[in-house]
């Protein structure tokens, strides 16, 4: 392997990237742009449960109960109903997550020491909103009724008060949690550009020209990889600027560590891109494979929104084979937790292993031949 020939390939690829404005945009600018667009969707807070209430009791106690339920931002009373028949269309149309029904004898039963009855109708079609609504309603109802019935009988037991603290993201702002995670998704773009560049050489026949040069397969691939990793790092810096300057996401770790691990992540993704490019002939297919193998699963399985599955070995394996999963963890660790590389050894080593493994497979498959 000659460093001179490899450098020539790096130079050729760099020129390719810089001279073609579309390619330059795809490799260097699209991650920042996509991060900007995607993050806007998360720039406000999620998790609010909207509820309708049907208060048939109309007593001071039932009003206090409703006020207690909706005392903070978690639960929002969007509509008060007059009769039960209004409830189901509201749920079917997705206007509210839950309907709470307070029967006419609510306060009377509490005052006379009988169990109070309430009913919640929950939209289970969206299980997150649904179970959240159920959990919050049930817990708050229990506490409210327990206190109310004890007050009614002028007796008290010592109370347990929860002091809740949220670490790393004190306001539970979804933007702060999503931006470091979304960075992992938008940084798939440089790898995608590389898969396209590899297949384009096949499709347009320029690979033939290269076959006739003394460049070795190893030099060709590693030169290409190096060029795209450098370009990818530039794009990572731009996206980072968007995250820190525009969205004001705190960056608590070390920039150097972040860039280093971004390089490792890019290597793992690009290694996979090399393997994919080996099997496909057209750019269309390459795009299709990258979309199906990387993009969509990354939204679902990488721990971006729901934490990664621990229920079954299969779920764990699928999530772990996606490089995105590890970079979501790294991104959140460095941005929000301010971790150093020693606390991120597991994801780092996995990504490194993936990168080296994929490179070895890609190189083994790559043949500098035509046809």
């Amino acid at each position: 392997m000659s460093p001179r020939r490899m450098a020539a390939i790096v130079r050729k690829e760099m020129l390719h990237i810089v001279r073609d404005p579309r390619n330059l945009f795809l490799v260097a600018f699209s991650p920042a742009l996509l991060l900007f667009l995607l993050s806007y969707v998360f720039s406000f807070d999620v998790g609010q449960i909207s509820m309708a209430a049907l208060d048939l009791d109309h007593s001071a106690l039932s009003r206090a109960y409703l006020a207690n339920l909706t005392s903070d931002q978690d639960l929002q009373l969007v509509i008060r109903l007059r009769e039960y028949t209004e409830a189901v269309p509201l749920l079917k149309g997705g206007d509210v997550d839950a309907v709470l029904i307070i029967p006419p004898d609510f306060s009377e039963r509490i005052q006379s020491g009988k169990p109070a009855r309430v009913q919640a109708v929950v939209d289970g079609a969206d299980p997150f909103a649904g179970s959240q609504a159920l959990m919050v309603l049930e817990a708050r109802s229990k506490v409210f009724v327990a206190r109310a019935s004890m007050t009614a009988r002028a007796q008290m037991v010592p109370w347990v008060e929860m002091r809740t603290v949220v670490w790393y993201n004190a306001g539970l702002e979804s933007l702060l949690s999503m931006v470091p995670g979304l960075l992992a998704i938008v940084l798939i773009m440089p790898s995608m550009a590389m898969a396209l560049a590899l297949t384009r050489e096949k499709e347009t026949g320029t690979l033939e020209g290269l076959v006739a040069t003394p460049v070795l397969g190893l030099e060709y691939l590693s030169g290409k990889l190096l060029a795209y990793i450098i370009a990818g790092l530039v794009s990572a810096v731009l996206a980072l600027l968007v995250a820190v300057l525009w969205f004001r996401v705190p960056f608590r770790g070390s920039l150097l560590v972040y860039l280093l691990l971004t390089g490792v992540y890019l290597m793992a993704c690009m290694g996979a891109a090399i393997v994919i490019a080996n099997f496909v002939r057209s750019q269309q297919t390459a795009m299709f494979v990258v979309m199906l193998v990387f993009l969509v699963p990354s939204f679902f399985l990488a721990g971006l929104i729901t934490p990664i599955g621990t229920e079954s070995l299969g779920a764990l394996l699928t999530s772990y084979t996606l490089p995105t999963t590890h970079f979501v963890e790294i991104g959140r660790g460095i941005f929000l937790k301010g971790l150093g590389v020693e606390s991120l050894l597991r994801p780092t080593l996995i990504l490194l292993g993936m990168g080296i493994g994929a490179m070895a497979i890609g190189l083994g498959l790559f043949q500098k031949k035509i046809g």
Binding site: V121, F128, M156, V157, L292, P297
Partner: protein, 380 residues
């Protein structure tokens, strides 16, 4: 005219079949992906790791720990002695929630002697709960579960003093549309929509761009094909393959993944066809305005990511700021997800879904006309 369109369609299908890798991928991969993703998307947020710092070691602190562990959402994996250890486990992501029970917890709660002794005001005893905010959904779920566990402890305590009857609140729940609140039933229809969207867009968006890049568009231009015929001949195969794909995946989600189908199959089929047609139109516009495949791919990626973001799957549309809600109205995927979930899970019909159906009709007409116009213009 019919014959010319037919010929173009046949040409497209032959071309599709000859790109072996592409045809295999388009017909098999989406189905496989659906199965893989559905199998591995969790049924909910469960068994989140919890660390306990118990400084009390009393009867009630142990009771609280048991209550926490008994929730479906939480799983106690570590007991530690110091805050440093808590910090370490939380940093590493090995615990998502920490519960700190102070010394004197049991004493404070049971310190007064008989329940008959009237106690009017007592200082509350504090329990510290620390959540990992890096994943906000997991954080709010674990916090909610912990609140519930503490609430149960209080309730049990009050009951044991005879202050309230054992069943002091009769909380009845009625869960509609997805009674077990299975996350899979929620996400499979969304994944169906996503994958159909991608496959169709990827197919429709590169057709013309590819012919232009490889120079074969010129050959098509010297044939007697008119612009409408060119657009239809390119669009119909994409429509057919996209719909076929949907049908295969739909069958899999019913038979293999056991997702319920509560509504009308006919309505779903009709609205799916509209949705696929809208996506094909979007794809044709991209194809017509891109000079190279690479450019088209770039557009496809940006569009696909935006559609996923606006689809309402990750963030409910009603939680978005109003200008983004306005944007999301133009995303066919958003309307389609409401439709497919409504029909499959809630058994909704046109009576509930007419706004989405009208939106899809309008979008498909507008995009169809725009794409016919642009494809025609770009011929020369």
């Amino acid at each position: 005219m019919i014959i010319r369109i037919g010929n173009l369609i046949i040409k497209e299908l032959i071309q599709f079949r000859r790109d072996r890798m592409l045809s295999v991928f388009i017909l098999l991969a989406p189905a496989l992906q659906l199965i893989l993703m559905a199998q591995n998307v969790e049924r909910g947020i469960t068994e989140q790791p919890v660390v306990i710092l118990d400084q009390d070691h009393g009867r009630l602190s142990r009771q609280l720990v048991v209550n926490l562990d008994n929730t479906e959402e939480l799983n106690i994996v570590h007991h530690v002695q110091s805050m440093e250890q808590v910090r370490n486990l939380m940093d590493q992501g090995d615990a998502r929630l920490a519960v700190v029970i102070p010394a004197g917890f049991t004493q404070g709660l049971t310190g007064f002697h008989s329940p008959q002794q009237k106690v009017r005001s007592v200082a509350p005893i504090q329990v510290g709960i620390i959540a990992d905010g890096t994943n906000t959904l997991a954080a709010s779920t674990t916090l909610g579960a912990a609140t519930g566990a503490v609430g149960r402890l209080i309730a049990d305590l009050a009951t044991s003093y005879g202050l309230v009857s054992a069943e002091f609140v009769d909380f009845r729940t009625d869960i509609r549309f997805n009674p077990t609140m299975d996350f899979r039933d929620f996400s499979v229809p969304a994944q169906l929509g996503f994958i159909t969207y991608q496959v169709t867009l990827a197919l429709a968006s590169l057709g013309l761009a590819r012919e232009r890049e490889l120079g074969t568009l010129e050959q098509l231009m010297v044939t007697p094909l008119r612009r409408l015929e060119l657009a239809l001949g390119k669009g119909i195969p994409a429509l057919a393959i996209g719909s076929l794909n949907f049908a295969i995946m739909w069958a899999i989600s019913l038979l293999v993944l056991q997702v319920p189908m509560n509504g009308s199959v006919f309505l779903l089929a009709a609205l799916t066809l509209l949705f696929v047609a809208t996506v094909v139109s979007w794809g044709m516009v991209i194809s017509a305005i891109s000079r190279t495949q690479q450019q088209a791919i770039l557009f496809v990626f940006i569009l696909a990511m935006m559609e996923i973001a606006f689809s309402g799957f990750m963030v409910p549309v009603k939680n978005m700021p109003s200008f983004l809600q306005l944007f999301s109205r133009f995303a066919p995927l958003q309307h389609y997800l409401v439709i497919i979930r409504g029909i499959m899970l809630k058994g909704a019909g046109l009576r509930e879904l007419w706004p989405q159906a009208i939106a899809l009709v309008a979008l498909s007409i507008v995009m169809g006309v725009v794409s016919l116009h642009i494809v025609g213009q770009r011929r020369s």
